[in-house]
Every structure is written in C-alpha cells, then in structure tokens.
Symmetry: C2
DNA sequence: GCGCATTTTGAACATTGTTCAAATATTTTT
DNA sequence: AAAAATATTTGAACAATGTTCAAAATGCGC
C-alpha cells in the first residue's frame, strides 16, 4: 500500500477543482465559498488549504481547465478549414459560442483578479499565451514576410480584438445583441481585417 | 437655514465618492473597504448606507466619474484631426494612454462585477454606451452607405476591439509589451481596419 | 502490531459588509 | 424662542466569510 498519501492528495485536489467548477458553473465567480466547495468536495474546511495556497489559487486551477477546453475548441474549429481567413473566422465563431455556452466559466477566466500584491503563476500565464498560436498559423499565411516577433504581437492583437468584441457583447451590461447578428458582426470583422492586411501588403516599406 | 438637509446629503455623497476614488487609486478595486472609505470621508460606518444602496453602488458612482473623464479624453483626442482615420487613431492612442495612466481606475470600470442577482442601473449603462458615439462619427465617413443600426453595431465592435487590445496588454498577466510598441500595434490595427473597409466598399452586395 | 511522520479536521479567529435602535441635528409649530 | 415633530447620523452588534493551527486520525516503515 505504498503511495497512498500522494494518491489521496491528488484525489482531494481534483475533487476540489471539480467542486469549485460546479460552483462557478451555477453561481458564478462570486458564488464560490470555501465552505460550500469543501462540503461539495467532501472534505473539511481546512483541507482546501492543504492542497491550494488559498481560494484564488483554486479558482486559477479551475480557469486553467477552462483554458484547456477553450484551446481544444479553437483547435478543432480551425482544423481542416480551407485557407487562413476561413480558419480565423471559424475560430472567432467558436470563441463566441464557447463564451455564450459557458458564460460563467468564461467570466471566471477573464473576470478573476488576484488581490493587490499577489502574482499569477507563470505556468498559468504560459498556458494562456499558448492559445495565441492558433492565430499565428493563419496570420503567417496572410503575411509571410512578417518576422516571428511581429507575427506574435499581431496574433495577440487579433486574438485580443476578437476577445474584446465577444466580451463587450456578453456582459449583459446593455441589452445583448442577438447572438446571430453578433456572429455576423464577427465574420464581418475578420473579413475586414483580412482585406486590410491584403490591401496593405507590400504597400508599406516596413512596419 | 432651510435646505440644509439636502445640502449635507449631497456633500456626504461627494465626499464618499472622492474617498472611494482615492482608495481605488492607490489600492485597486479590491482595496476598497467600507470602514476605510467612511473614515476617509469623515462619517460613520452606517453613513455610507444612507446615501448608497451598498458598496457596489458606490463603486459604480466612482466608475461613472471615470467614464466621464474617459469620454472627455476621447472627445478632445479626436477634435480637429483631419479625416476619420486620423481621428480613430488618435482616440485609440488616447484610450491606451488613459488606461496606462489610470490603471486602477480603469480596471475598476471594466473589472467590477455585481453579485449574481443585481442589475446595473440603466443610467450607468447609458453613460457607457454613449461613448460609442465617438467612433460612430469617423466610421460614418468611411462607410456612408451604412444604415444607422449597422453603423452603431460596427462602432461598438471597433470600440470593443481596441478595448480588447488595450485590456489584454495591460493585465500584467504576462510581461507587458513595452508601451511604445503597443502604440505602434494599435496604429497598425486601425490602419489595417480602415484599409479593409476601403477595400471592401461596394465589393459586397449587402451586409 | 508499533511508533513515527504526515495529513485531515473543525473550532477559533480576524476581517468584512450590513442593519438598526439610540443619539443627534434640523425643521415646524406654537 | 422654546417645544414638539421629523429626519439623519452614529457605531455597536450581527452574520458571513477566508484563513490558521492544535489536536485527532491516518498512513508508513519496521
């Protein structure tokens, strides 16, 4: 019976993450309480702190899972699409759909903030940044002459722009634009961006 | 000595908003505590609740002021610029600078979320949405044939896209891109968008 | 099975937002 | 101007929360 300690520990960890995920799913980010989560996970209150540094780190663990999911969604959305523009359009749509279908999880990822002094773990940042690679691929086809550094920067911007459009529409701050017209808006945005890139190609000496 | 009641009330209100603003300025959104704010404002703990429904509403009052500031900044950034593209570029830059110079206030505006049931007051939403008008003006010059409805939708998207780019860069989740290259990236983005709009003009039957 | 090391437990604590009866201040009435 | 009526301000008390840590329970090597 060796290694039972480590096994228990891992089991507790995943039970806690699962519990926190469910909690976020139906109560949102603010609805996650140490007592509820530990009860749900079937451990004592203090158990949480034997596996995570604090509640924020548990949230980050949940968010990491969500990011993995989103990454996979983007991957399969782009797979097999003919041409860079179609790929980007498909990913933008998939991003929108994911956000709409998993609003609370998605809000947890982008709405969670650590308290003033604390720093986000590097592995989490890396996982986040890794998603940009999905945009790098099609963008490189549209602008083959771009250096890797500029390509990365630009991919990040395109990602961020799509994110911004989705985010501002989802925050039901104002009456939500109907989902379908939002999808058209996104399509249009990608199309315009691509047309702009094509139009500007070679026209400028250097950027 | 008539009307002293209302005067006192208004005075308390603005002292509270000012105190909360300072608190956010140097401690961030999470650093705002009922006790600190009321002490700073020179009233008792309960005083806060005689003027605001709760802490969240006080935050919204601060955010409303910040939005006004930002609105003014965008206004004067665009004023006198020759042509729509120059206007949009100037506003994007101004937006970035404002976010960088007022990080905590800006984060409070876009990072604050009400608890599950509560609803954002309509006057606040209106103030927020009003900012889009700054993008509507130049966009209308670029695409004069667009209906007012589509124009609004598109202006919102452009605003959101710029917001997204700024937001993702500012969240120091990953090593911040140096401010200057970020500015160039924004310029480039606006330029590309404008080129795309021009290239697509008339080419599509209807959108 | 026994003793040691590690983990789990949950009562206790500190820090919050919020409430509300009492105290204070203002306005109205006489 | 004093008294009565009304409204506001106060801050002690409460409830809800994240976090800690000594004691109890559990796992491990012999």
């Amino acid at each position: 019976m060796a290694g039972k300690r480590e096994a228990n520990r891992q089991d507790l960890k995943s039970r806690l993450v699962a519990a926190a995920r469910e909690q976020i799913l139906d109560k949102g980010l603010k609805g996650i309480r140490a007592r509820d989560v530990t009860t749900r996970a079937g451990c004592a209150l203090g158990g949480l702190y034997s596996v995570f540094e604090d509640l924020d780190m548990l949230v980050i663990a949940v968010n990491a899972e969500t990011l993995m999911q989103l990454d996979a969604v983007l991957s399969s959305a782009a797979a097999g699409r003919p041409g860079p523009v179609a790929q980007m359009r498909a990913m933008a749509r998939a991003y929108l759909r994911f956000a709409l279908d998993n609003r609370n999880l998605w809000n947890a990822v982008f709405g969670h903030r650590l308290p003033e002094g604390a720093n986000i773990p590097q592995w989490y940042v890396d996982e986040y940044v890794a998603m940009f690679r999905h945009v790098v691929a099609p963008l490189a086809m549209l602008e083959p002459e771009l250096s890797p550094g500029k390509l990365n920067l630009k991919a990040r911007s395109v990602f961020a722009a799509v994110h911004g459009i989705v985010a501002i529409s989802i925050q039901e701050r104002f009456v939500g634009v109907p989902g379908e017209s939002l999808e058209r808006e996104l399509d249009d945005f990608i199309e315009t961006l691509a047309a702009g890139i094509a139009a500007r190609r070679g026209r400028t000496a250097q950027r």
